[in-house]
């Protein structure tokens, strides 16, 4: 036997078996990690890459798009602006199946260019329309004119039956607008006196809404959500009650034929006489007083005025406004107080596409394209839709979330790096070892262990609700207000209206009384001439989110900064000090430059960490839906604009993924976009990691000892 000659011969015994089994178990566990990693990456790349491939760069450069799935009928000569046609093609890769006869043509549109002069009176809605047509145009008005005449349109002759009260108001305000023949008639109507027995009844939302303003005392077991109009909830009537209601209300809330109405114990008709004044108002444009317009509004007058607040007085000359001719006509007819000059007509040729839809098809359109195609074919009626379904965020586009995440990371890293580097320098170079440093390190360890959702809530409490602001218009809901100096300049009327500022008179109210009065008035902000230090928070904003993330990433930053400071040889400090440098000089010139690669790595690692966090930003910065990038749509100027920018909310990539994947209704249209967004997110985070490695190698090669 060979084994007799071989003293080290292999032996089969239980120890060997144990060894083999142990090795097998270890291998299985190790390989399962690899499998899991492959599974996750593989799935995301497999599902996400086709989406990115199909969408191309537009996936990165577009804001999140909502697609409308439209069923259209076969039709010829459908028109669409050329730029929207591109979007249509991009969203419908299978367009060649139903698209034919694509021809380009130019559609002339007449535009009027004009100057708006000081002292013009213009209705609020018309001003808004002008501003949306001319993006650079923004008037900070300071005055309204409640007496300026206003115009309105009636599409056709209208027979108006006006109740007595309205007619009286009309006569008082603008009798000239009334035609000569006004007939008066009396009509017998009924009110209803109803008795409801105590009890527990199912009630629908319409009945509930109708009953809220009445004297009926009732209590809902469950409140209605806005998006559930058909829901029936239980209500409690605590005692038997009798109220008198109008016929409308009677049929909404008590009609036994309807679902979700209250059963009545007893009812009684209460007849009364209503006086009506009938007259005919001719179609076309009319000019009248604001008070009269407020009356006509109820009888179908078309206008964009705000008769209660009055017309806006333009306080500066504005040149070069450009509007389509159709709007120009409405504008001039509806605003008799408008003063314009230098009108000129230009004809813009917009490139259009005309195409045929060869068969009934399903077309995906984003909201903007849908609107354009509808307007373009409004007159011809060639674009016939049979059904429409909206699928939120099914069109892809992640520029908003990417920008939001980028801004959050930038703010967070600025705060975290300044604080973190300062703290680590102090701890490592200045502080004497002792209880104090130990306490700080303990606090830091604790901070590193706090769950991220707690950071989110902390950020909500501290930065969103409580952080200090210095402002002349503190929030009415401010936690604490401390007056600083009395030199606020009164906000313009437009600001007062838009931001709902309560302007206090000369009364000597305390800050808490001011808050109460302002809240009672329904205002959000307070102005009384003082500059306040107000603990009112920064709102849901990228600033609050950035600070919250900074709090979270601080322990990581401080620990790794300290490590890189410690890695700098003591000899550099000594050499520098021995040459007569002060402590700070030697840190600045002989320590920090050489700790820089480590700090850089720490910060990039911090970036990858904060970029992926969801919990801390969901209360503090991120919103599920925002059509504008944070810097868009800000009307203030200069430094105020920067502050407004910092206080604006944003979308963020991880939160966007959460929204797309979990918070909106799922469909086959939205699902690919989840994978697309996740793939983009992963690419970004991985590229950060790659950058960090590259930077580290590069900088480390440059600086070494």
């Amino acid at each position: 036997m060979a084994s007799k000659n071989n003293p080290f011969c292999k032996q089969r015994n239980s120890l060997n078996t144990k060894e083999t089994v142990t090795r097998l178990i270890l291998i299985v566990f190790t390989y399962s990690i690899i499998l899991a990693a492959f599974g996750i990456f593989g799935k995301i790349i497999y599902e996400g890459a086709p989406v990115l491939w199909q969408k191309g760069w537009s996936f990165f450069t577009k804001k999140p798009q909502t697609l409308i799935v439209t069923q259209v009928e076969k039709s010829k000569g459908v028109e669409i602006p050329a730029k929207n046609f591109e979007g249509l093609l991009a969203n419908n890769p299978n367009a060649d199946q139903w698209l034919a006869n694509v021809t380009e043509f130019e559609k002339p549109t007449e535009f009027i260019t004009f100057d708006l002069l000081t002292g013009s009176r213009i209705g609020q809605g018309y001003l808004g329309e002008l501003e949306s047509l001319n993006p650079d145009f923004y008037v900070i008005y300071t005055e309204r004119d409640t007496n300026a005449l206003v115009g309105f349109q009636l599409h056709a002759d209208k027979k108006i039956s006006m109740i007595k009260e309205d007619f009286a108001a009309l006569v008082a305000s603008d009798p000239k607008i009334l035609p000569a023949d006004v007939t008066t008639r009396n009509i017998e109507l009924n009110n209803y006196k109803v008795t409801v027995a105590a009890g527990d009844y199912p009630i629908g939302k319409p009945a509930h809404d109708a009953l809220v303003p009445t004297e009926l005392i009732f209590k809902m077991r469950q409140t209605f959500a806005d998006d559930e109009p058909d829901k029936i909830n239980q209500t409690i009537i605590p005692e038997e009650q009798t109220i008198t209601v109008s016929a409308d209300l009677y049929f909404t809330a008590f009609d036994e034929e309807e679902r979700g109405t209250l059963p009545l114990k007893a009812e009684e008709e209460v007849p009364y006489t209503q006086v009506f004044h009938d007259f005919l108002l001719t179609g076309g444009n009319h000019v009248t007083t604001p008070a009269a317009l407020a009356v006509f509004e109820k009888y179908g007058a078309q206008h964009l005025h705000n008769p209660q607040k009055g017309a806006i007085v333009i306080n500066e000359d504005i040149t070069g406004l450009k509007v389509p001719k159709t709007f120009w006509q409405t504008l001039t007819l509806s605003n008799p107080g408008l003063k314009t000059a230098n009108q000129s007509t230009t004809i813009n040729k917009t490139p259009f596409i005309r195409f045929d839809i060869t068969k009934d098809a399903e077309i995906l359109l984003d909201t903007e394209d849908r609107e354009s195609i509808a307007t373009a074919n409004e007159a011809t009626g060639k674009f016939i839709t049979t059904s429409e379904e909206t699928h939120s965020y099914s069109g892809g586009g992640v520029v908003g979330p990417i920008v939001g995440t980028g801004l959050l990371v930038i703010i967070c890293m600025m705060v975290a790096l300044f604080t973190g580097i300062a703290a680590s320098i102090f701890l490592n170079e200045y502080a004497r070892a002792g209880t104090f440093v130990k306490t700080i390190r303990l606090a830091m360890l604790n901070l590193a262990g706090v769950p991220s959702i707690v950071f989110g809530l902390f950020g909500l409490g501290l930065f969103v609700i409580l952080a200090p602001c210095v402002t002349s218009t503190p929030k009415a809901s401010s936690t604490l207000m401390v007056p600083l100096v009395k030199l606020g300049s009164e906000p313009e009327l437009r600001m007062i209206e838009q931001q709902q500022i309560y302007v206090a008179g000369k009364s000597d109210l305390s800050s808490s009384e001011l808050s109460t009065v302002a809240t009672a008035e329904g205002s959000r902000l307070i102005y009384d001439g003082w500059i306040w230090l107000s603990l009112q928070g920064w709102g849901t904003s990228i600033l609050a989110g950035g600070f919250t993330l900074a709090m979270m990433v601080l322990p990581v930053i401080i620990t790794s900064c300290e490590e890189s400071l410690r890695a700098v040889p003591m000899g550099f400090r000594e050499a520098s000090l021995a040459l007569g440098a002060t402590k700070w000089q030697s840190i600045r010139t002989a320590v920090l430059p050489y700790a820089f690669p480590g700090i850089l790595t720490a910060s990039v690692l911090g970036i990858t960490r904060v970029a992926g966090e969801t919990a801390p930003i969901m209360f503090t910065a991120a919103v599920a839906e925002k059509s504008e990038l944070p810097w868009e749509g800000l009307k203030s100027t200069g430094f105020d604009k920067f502050l407004d920018f910092l206080q604006s909310s944003a979308q963020a990539l991880p939160y966007h993924i959460y929204t797309v994947a979990g918070r909106i209704p799922q469909s086959e249209y939205t699902q690919p976009m989840q994978y697309g967004s996740v793939l983009v997110f992963m690419l970004i985070v991985m590229s950060f990691a790659a950058i960090s490695i590259w930077l580290r190698v590069r900088v480390r090669n440059k600086i070494k000892w």
Binding site: T589, A590, K704
Partner: protein, 307 residues
């Protein structure tokens, strides 16, 4: 460190006869505590000073120093005067306190939080350097230091030499250029590096790097240069160059050097101080110490019987 602490705990053991023949770590265990050498305390050795001439630059008076807030003294009652424009060497076995003393001279020991001077004073140019109104920054501008391990900054050769001037706020290119050239000449390095001033200092050889550190130190024009075992990390050829340089520098600067090499001390120094376990055993002219030492430990040490 252990040896040092245990030794300083029992200073009387320091001079025991046992220590002469055995390793210093065993000194505390020495049974003979009454040694005649102890009674002839060698502070008196400074009498040769006048004979060698030279103005006193550094005056150390009865200095005791502790690294642990005065619990144990690392230096015990040191008194010596270091003359101007001469090379003074501190010799002694490891842990005897010579590096500690040299670091006291430009207050580098301030970096150790628990260190303190428990007794005595140091006067440089007549000024007590631990007085309240003395700024260690200003002191270090006058008392430069070269370290055991050469430690040029990972910058260019030029930037290394200009470093001290730049932190003093000198920005003018011409005066920096001039100072760099002068210092590199002074450190006998100019000819070797004049064509690559912008190259990294770390590309130089060990000896060149140490001379660069010396150039960096003399660039700020100190009065005193402290050298803490400047050649211990260098090969003999580099050492020879640095030694040559020191002999050159002593024309302008007062040099205090800590060295482990007795040959080096004998070659370059004008005066030698021998330390043992935190005490100054003997101080005098180098020739005197090496040819005719008064204390027995000195003789044993320089003849290589211990240490």
């Amino acid at each position: 460190m252990n040896q040092q602490n245990s030794a300083t705990n029992d200073p009387t053991a320091a001079l025991s006869g046992q220590a002469v023949t055995t390793a210093p770590t065993e000194a505390p265990d020495a049974p003979m505590r009454q040694d005649p050498a102890h009674t002839e305390h060698p502070h008196a050795e400074t009498i040769t000073e006048d004979a060698l001439g030279g103005k006193t630059m550094i005056h150390i008076e009865d200095l005791s120093f502790s690294y642990d807030n005065g619990k144990t003294n690392t230096l015990q009652n040191i008194s010596l005067d270091i003359p101007e424009k001469q090379v003074t060497a501190f010799i002694g076995p490891s842990g005897c306190g010579k590096s500690t003393l040299i670091r006291c001279l430009n207050r580098m020991n301030d970096l150790v939080e628990t260190s303190c001077i428990t007794n005595g004073k140091i006067k440089i140019m007549g000024q007590d350097i631990n007085a309240r109104d003395v700024s260690p920054i200003e002191l270090r501008k006058q008392v430069g230091m070269v370290f055991q391990k050469y430690n040029p900054f990972p910058k260019s050769i030029y930037d290394n030499v200009a470093y001290g001037l730049r932190i003093q706020g000198i920005k003018k290119k011409s005066s920096l250029d001039e100072a760099v050239e002068r210092s590199l000449h002074g450190a006998a390095l100019w000819d070797e590096v004049k064509d690559r001033l912008k190259d990294s200092a770390l590309g130089l050889s060990g000896g060149q790097q140490q001379r660069l550190c010396i150039a960096r130190t003399i660039a700020v024009q100190p009065k005193v240069i402290l050298m803490d075992e400047p050649c211990s990390a260098l090969d003999p050829i580099a050492t020879a160059k640095v030694e040559e340089l020191m002999l050159e520098l002593r024309k302008e600067f007062t040099i205090v050097i800590v060295t482990h090499s007795m040959q080096q001390a004998s070659r370059i120094s004008d005066r030698t101080a021998f330390f043992y376990l935190g005490e100054l055993i003997e101080y005098g002219s180098t020739t005197h110490i090496f040819t005719n030492p008064t204390a027995k430990q000195t003789e044993d040490y320089i003849s290589g019987r211990f240490g």
